[in-house]
Symmetry: C2
Amino acid sequence: MVYAKHRTMPTPVQLRIWRDYIETAEALRTRLTGRLQNESSLSSGDYQVLLALSEAEQHTIRSSELAAMIGWERSRLSHHLGRMEKRQLIRRIPCADAVHGIDVIATDPGLELFRAGSVPHLRAVKEIFIDALSPEQLIQVEDIAIVLRRHLGLDSEVGTRE
Amino acid sequence: MVYAKHRTMPTPVQLRIWRDYIETAEALRTRLTGRLQNESSLSSGDYQVLLALSEAEQHTIRSSELAAMIGWERSRLSHHLGRMEKRQLIRRIPCADAVHGIDVIATDPGLELFRAGSVPHLRAVKEIFIDALSPEQLIQVEDIAIVLRRHLGLDSEVGTRE
DNA sequence: ACGCTATAGTTGACGTATCAATTCCCGGAG
DNA sequence: CTCCGGGAATTGATACGTCAACTATAGCGT
């Protein structure tokens, strides 16, 4: 599947588009995490972890499954859980039913903080991102994201909207 | 300038689009910086700094101007320059013509590394981003970035393509 | 039983980002 | 002159991400 015609460089216009794209995404990320931080003293990592736990049975997930769910490397998760545990947002206990396994459990304060942060956070997503775009643009964003992910080789073999 | 109708939450579809958008941009960033790292042992921060310096008169820029150019906070730049100086990519000298000022100068090895990294990096941008998108999609990306930036309140007062 | 490998998880080192506090020196008010 | 305010730059603390190295144990083949 190739004409080897990848060997060219981007034009200045293409390069500008690339920079606009990536810098805008970066700015959005920064803005959102800032608001989340102010409104609930949660980082975006905390949020992802607590979101997964809050939806889980018993608010508990095996560490390795949690890593897979949110797409993190094990070591990253381990470090982050260490920090969250220090702040009493989660607990870790070696779990009985599997030989090698750590159960990650959201604490009550952790869940509460998550719920408190959730509404303002979602509202911020709407204000900062959704409200800026027309419905057609939203669809374009989605299509573009899908195409880029597939091109990157993520998304393995998912059904293609059809 | 407002109907206060921002007080709603994003729908599940909107939320999925947001997550796809932000995660895809994140994945692209990670991929690109990984390639840059392998091909030239430069981080994306190093690249931005050296890009600015390589285009400057004498390959020299006053520290505070450099910060403004690449949109970094002063402290971030200071830390980063410290690390780059340790690796001999740049030098810092207190500059004569302004009372308080540090000139940042790219060293020859720094410039060489930048030039060596530049071509593969640009090629990577093309392969990973540009080549994934149709010409129409590229235009859409640009428009969307512009709209988002304006909505964020960046870009102050730039002329709007017309 | 012995050793091998694979898996789950942790740890340490290092680079990076942000914030608050600090240093240095200027230049103006008294 | 001395004190004070303010801009330029640095520093230290803390959080975050990644990589490579490490621990511990279960399961397998011989």
